[in-house]
């Protein structure tokens, strides 16, 4: 079986001697026009995979930065149809793999199989649904698999090895390891070295998953990346990129810091 494109993108970064970089931006942030300009900049400036947030009114896994940004997008009229339509119009334009990230309910209301078809044909390669644990994932994988769409698992410091194995047994693309017990945007305390429980968790995840493991939540400074080599395969940036844009920056400048 050929490798999933998301796995390939991460391995291509490794071939260049670096971790894969996975920025996240809520769909339609900071506004509907500029969002796609920022995505272009991310793609041209070293993003290996780009995560596009699908805004939801009640994002329980997100901290205040992502929640606020998502609600702002909803107020501006962003919905799934808009994200998928605009993405489809740009199909073939990006080198980066495309992952959609959000919560189950908007996907259910769009229609699970309709979503799977439209997302795949718009050029998305994977989906993260923050409120779908393994127990509820079977119908979703059944809809995604025929389209080649990967359901990316989110695991963390409190995920026991047996549960990692469950997720690992069905994993495609990559897996997402959350570095802190908390919501997105929680700051990690580490500078260059990883706390021992994060290193141990990453090692367990690497063992359980046959796909690369990305580390997310709380990466703030480029120096932190150095400590990840050999432990994680990729790093995810969410709240940090939103803050950078809120402070007047652009995606290109953000990527230069990290690359």
């Amino acid at each position: 079986m050929s490798k999933h494109i998301l796995t390939e993108r991460i391995e291509q970064a490794h071939a260049k001697g670096r971790l894969a970089l996975i920025p996240f931006l809520p769909g339609g942030y900071p506004d509907k026009k500029r969002f796609w300009e920022e995505i272009d900049q991310l793609d041209k400036n070293g993003a290996d995979i780009i995560e596009i947030g699908m805004p939801f009114s009640d994002p329980v896994a997100d901290g205040p930065v992502v929640e606020h940004a998502s609600l702002k997008c909803l107020e501006a009229g962003v919905n799934l149809a808009w994200i998928l339509g605009e993405l489809a119009a740009r199909k073939g334009r990006y080198h980066a793999g495309i992952v959609l990230m959000g919560y189950l309910n908007p996907v259910l209301q769009y229609g699970l199989s309709r979503f799977a078809k439209d997302a795949a044909s718009a050029g998305a390669h994977g989906v993260i649904l923050a409120d779908v644990p393994f127990e509820e994932s079977e119908p979703i994988r059944a809809a995604f698999d025929p389209e080649g769409l990967a359901l990316i698992a989110l695991v963390g410091l409190n995920t026991a090895p047996e549960r990692m194995e469950l997720y690992g047994s069905v994993a495609k693309g990559f897996a997402y390891f959350v570095s802190v017990l908390g919501t997105t945007g929680v700051r990690s305390s580490f500078d260059t070295g990883l706390p021992p429980e994060v290193s141990a968790g990453l090692a367990a995840a690497k063992k359980a998953f046959g796909v690369p493991v990305a580390l997310g939540f709380g990466l703030k400074r480029p120096e932190q990346l150095a400590g990840l080599h050999g432990l994680a395969d990729a790093a995810v940036f969410g709240s940090a990129l939103i803050r950078h844009i809120d402070e007047g920056g652009e995606a290109a400048g953000f990527m230069k810091i990290w690359k």
């Binding site: 896994a61 609600l71 909803l74 919905n79 017990l181 908390g182």
Partner: protein
């Protein structure tokens, strides 16, 4: 059936980071909850601390007026002034056996917050309550009570600043604090096992009411009526009557102001659709695009855009019927019960009573109707006074 499901509803739609504490709780429910030691301890707390059994009170004056036999299951007499303590004392005992040192809870009207805070104080635990900032303003008496019991009250400013956002905030806090903290969920909703756990602990309402009806009336009721927000008092009032086919179960939701286009809190009896929120698949008030809409009710404890999954299933199976009444009907019931029976009901419970007052004429004459009076109305005096004053000004 799949674990944690009631028909098509229920489930465990939470981030993986919350699965370990939910699995821990499931395991505790199987191992600790049924044990004689736990049940004895719970029975003792319910008797000596909560003040159970609560009375089943016949209402002579309203019965004559309405042409039915009206009975009230007096959860307003439970310690703290509402049924909520049945759940919190049970969950707090369970949490303590799991070695947790702190409770966190969401609250709407503040009744569950008060009940969590007093259970924590009783058992020597710390307590943090998440409460929508709007609810903090409109239920200030309960905020003061929680603080007296030593709880920290955190106003939640995000979203609609009501119960739904308080639940989001509490779930987020639980992700971070799960090792030391039990999330004392307040209603028969949320991810499995909460709907089951809350039902188990609230079923004491119908266990007592069923026996009391047989003893005091010599028969089962024809109707059991309870208000439904998330639905904890209703599931507790219904559960033991479910096998009694002759007993009709009526859940009363809040229709809000009842004007076209206005927000309401009635996903089952108005225009709710199936969806996933707060860890469960249930009926929700939402847009076609799956964004959760604001809800409204004059009763803060009913002000919620979802409903417990077992109620959605009871509606789908036809075992229970769900109806709604407006703010007006609830206020009228609040005043009527106070004036004619000397009992001041919570605005939440006033919805159940309001449905009976407005529909007594269409029930068979002499029907025995049990209303779950889920709480007392002291906390609502300001709201009622303001509402009546505004009506007097012709608003």
């Amino acid at each position: 059936m799949k674990k944690g499901y009631y028909g098509d509803f229920g489930g465990q739609f939470v981030p993986e980071l919350l699965m370990p504490p939910l699995l821990e709780l499931e395991e505790a429910m199987e191992r600790i909850l049924p044990s004689k030691e736990f049940q004895d301890e719970l029975a003792s707390e319910l008797k000596h601390f909560v003040g159970r059994p609560t009375a089943l009170t016949f209402c002579p004056n309203l019965s004559t007026k309405l042409g039915i036999k009206l009975w009230l299951k007096r959860e307003d007499l439970a310690h703290g002034g509402a049924h909520k303590v049945n759940n919190t004392i049970g969950q707090a005992l369970l949490a303590k056996k799991l070695g947790k040192t702190r409770l966190l809870a969401e609250t709407g009207a503040g009744q569950h917050g008060v009940a969590s805070a007093l259970a924590a104080a009783r058992l020597g635990m710390k307590c943090t309550i998440y409460m929508g900032a709007l609810d903090v303003e409109r239920q200030s008496l309960n905020v003061r009570r929680m603080r007296l019991f030593g709880a920290e009250v955190v106003p939640v400013e995000s979203g609609t600043r009501t119960l739904k956002d308080a639940i989001n905030a509490a779930l987020r806090a639980w992700i971070a604090e799960q090792r030391t903290t039990h999330y004392c969920f307040g209603t028969a909703a949320g991810p499995h096992p909460f709907p089951l756990l809350v039902r188990e602990l609230q079923s004491v309402i119908s266990r007592e009411a069923r026996a009391q009806m047989l003893e005091q009336a010599g028969r089962l009721p024809d109707y059991v009526v309870a208000c439904v927000g998330g639905g904890s008092n209703a599931i507790g009032a219904f559960h033991e009557f479910e096998p009694d086919a002759s007993v009709k179960l009526v859940g009363v939701e809040a229709a809000g102001r009842g004007k076209p286009g206005d927000w309401h809190s009635a996903p089952l009896s108005k225009n709710g659709t199936p969806g996933v929120l707060h860890g469960m698949r249930s009926q929700l008030i939402q847009t076609d695009e799956g964004q959760i809409l604001p809800s409204h009710s004059i009763a803060p404890g009913l002000d919620y855009p979802g409903v417990g999954p077992e109620h959605a299933a009871l509606q789908a199976s036809g075992r229970a019927t769900y109806v709604n009444v407006t703010d007006d009907a609830a206020i009228e019931a609040f005043l009527e019960l106070s004036r004619h029976e000397g009992i001041m009901p919570a605005l939440e419970s006033s919805h159940a009573l309001g449905w009976v007052l407005r529909n007594a004429g269409s029930l068979p004459r002499g029907s025995h109707v049990v209303v779950c009076l889920s709480g007392r109305g002291d906390k609502d005096l300001d709201i009622v006074n303001d509402y009546v004053a505004a009506q007097g000004e012709g608003k």
